[in-house]
């Protein structure tokens, strides 16, 4: 047991989707020693497809509550529909507008606020915990992993991300490991915020496209908003070398660390089809570049825990 040893959390995010986050994380998993992996892209988790985890612990996740109308007690007064701000209460009325009108709560639209249940004059609305998904602790060929599955059309992905992260840190502590590598989700919203708050470092994997450039800046703003140091890696850089240069110069202007470039290479898809990371899938220039990115991020962390501003 290495008690009290600081655990470093690296988060790989991108802003734009499909820039190669999960492929990079899978390679990091293969290169890391003594790390726990956390797949925090809970609504489209893919890391398990490469790491082939063996689940050793499985937990239900309840991130919120949900309302349900008891038809036996409901008098169809319509108060719930009037108060709901999420358009979740529907009226199933017969076409002739007769007495059989019935209200129903759409579980997909329900935000779980409880207003309808609290103010129902007939106490006809049940308001209780909803199961929104599951999370797992697994063993993989590259070490322990925590991952999750959000239920179909469920919400509370941010809370599930926080649950996965907390479980990964706890696992690292139990096993005396000092690094948690987090695969994040695209965007800048709730799950991304939950995956980066309090982390040690954000690695932004972007691509040399106008979309990649635009989204990289928004996600860099988000990291700054939460005071987290960030580094940038340009994946598929040779698709547009000019935009790759622009992204790196924008990153420098913002004081972000540069983690390097990785070329556009069919080896990445080929490796994925063989359920491998690119660094495991034979020798390729692209694999060497991913190793360099890994080394730069490591060095930046070891240098001060913070990448050096230029």
């Amino acid at each position: 047991m290495k008690k009290g040893k600081a655990i470093t959390e690296w988060v790989v995010i991108s802003g734009k989707g499909g820039t190669g986050k999960t492929s990079v994380v899978a390679s990091f998993a293969a290169l890391a020693r003594r790390a726990v992996l956390a797949d925090c892209d809970v609504d489209a988790a893919d890391l398990h497809l490469v790491l082939d985890p063996k689940v050793i612990r499985r937990e239900k996740f309840s991130g919120g509550k949900r309302a349900r109308i008891d038809p036996a007690r409901c008098t169809a007064c319509g108060r719930c529909q009037e108060l709901c701000r999420f358009e979740a209460v529907h009226l199933d009325a017969p076409a002739d507008g007769g007495a059989e009108r019935r209200f129903r709560i759409d579980p997909i639209a329900c935000e779980g606020c409880g207003v309808c249940a609290w103010f129902c004059p007939e106490r006809a609305i049940h308001f209780g915990p909803a199961v929104n998904g599951e999370w797992f602790v697994s063993e993989t060929r590259h070490g322990p992993m925590v991952h999750a599955r959000l239920g179909i059309a469920e919400e509370n992905s941010g809370k599930l991300v926080s649950t996965v992260r907390a479980a990964a840190v706890e696992l690292a502590r139990q096993r005396g490991l000092d690094l948690v590598i987090i695969d994040g989700s695209p965007g800048v919203g709730c799950p991304v915020i939950a995956s980066i708050t309090g982390a040690s470092l954000v690695l932004i994997v972007t691509e040399p496209t106008l979309s990649g450039r635009c989204d990289m800046q928004r996600v860099a703003d988000l990291a700054r908003h939460f005071g987290i140091p960030a580094m940038v890696c340009v994946n598929k850089w040779d698709l547009n070398p000019r935009v790759a240069d622009e992204i790196e110069s924008l990153a420098r202007q913002r004081g972000l660390g540069l983690a390097g470039r990785v070329r556009y290479d069919g080896a990445v898809t080929e490796a994925q089809i063989h359920r491998q990371s690119v660094v495991e899938h034979g020798a390729s220039a692209c694999a060497d570049e991913v190793r360099d990115v890994w080394a730069r991020v490591r060095a930046a962390i070891e240098a001060a825990g913070v990448p050096e501003p230029s």
Binding site: G112, W118, G187, V188, C190, C214, R218, G266
Partner: protein, 291 residues
């Protein structure tokens, strides 16, 4: 087809372009479909990372509008610190400390419950900005975009504001955010048809399955577009066949397509040979709905 618009006979249709996995080509499909069809409204519902405007550059139509949700404001003169609002709030957006109520507006979902339960009537609601809404004219296309402020967690209220601008007439194309949770669901609700864009890889297939499950839960007809066809394996094609999901179009794996995209050029402008793919896709979608 202006001739078909006689007597308002042409059915209007809300077509959502979604994917599960990010970066499969939703924006590409949405923008190119709009371009080949013309006279449509394209609504960028990927409010966390809106990108359609990089491909369809037009002139702004009016000033950007701020979009807000209502968050509580506590009148300290009236509040006696009883904590009823804190007990009510499911989102931990309120806390009471030394008989004073603190509001964490970033946690608030804007349900309005706290203001209603307060026994002292000490809580009112005030708008809190979450993002902006812009409109532009790009030739005969109307482009509506929502852009979430950085640091704001909740996209769905802004997505609902974008969708409020779906016109009563003419087709609307919605560019959905990636994933399968609230923002994607908020975009897809009330759509008439969902085009799921994927790529022929294990990640593409896995996330397509999740997206199909959501679309089925919402009970909306859907079809699949395979982007970068030929770059991976044929498991997506087999899946569509087994699940009886129509394969609407395939966009080949062509480095020129990726390069045009990187420059912010529309595929049908940069590589006119692809026009037919999107024309056929649009007809396919319009036909599929009636089945």
């Amino acid at each position: 087809m202006a001739a078909g618009r006689d007597k308002g006979k042409e059915e209007t249709m809300i077509i959502a372009i979604a994917s599960g996995k990010g970066g499969t080509g939703k924006t590409t499909v949405a923008a190119n479909l709009a371009r080949v069809r013309g006279a449509v409204t394209l609504l960028d519902c990927d409010v966390e990372e809106p990108n359609v405007h990089l491909f369809l550059k037009g002139t702004p139509d009016g000033e950007p509008q701020e979009v807000s949700i209502l968050v509580p404001e506590v009148d300290e003169a009236r509040c006696d610190g009883c904590g009823e609002c804190v007990r009510f709030c499911e989102y931990k957006a309120l806390a009471v400390l030394d008989k004073r109520v603190l509001v964490f507006k970033d946690m608030c979902h804007g349900c309005g419950g706290c203001a209603r339960v307060c026994p002292q009537n000490a809580i009112s609601e005030k708008p809190n900005r979450i993002g902006i809404l812009t409109s532009a004219r790009v030739g005969d296309i109307t482009l509506v975009q929502g852009r979430l402020d950085v640091g704001v967690a909740m996209a769905p209220p802004l997505i609902r504001a974008v969708k409020a601008l779906i016109p009563a007439q003419g087709d609307a194309i919605l560019d959905a955010p990636p994933g399968t949770s609230c923002p994607m669901v908020a975009t897809l609700r009330e759509a008439d048809f969902v085009v799921l864009v994927t790529e022929p890889t294990p990640f593409g297939l896995h996330d397509l399955r999740l997206a199909v499950a959501v679309v089925r839960e919402l009970d909306i007809p859907c079809g699949v577009v395979i982007n970068r066809a030929g770059s991976g394996d044929d498991s997506v094609t087999a899946y569509c066949r087994d699940e009886k999901i129509p394969l609407l179009a395939e966009i080949p794996d062509d480095r020129r397509v990726a390069e045009a995209y990187s420059r912010g050029e529309l595929m049908v402008d940069a590589l006119p040979e692809y026009r037919a793919v999107f024309e056929a896709l649009y007809s396919e979608v319009k036909g599929e709905e009636k089945v």
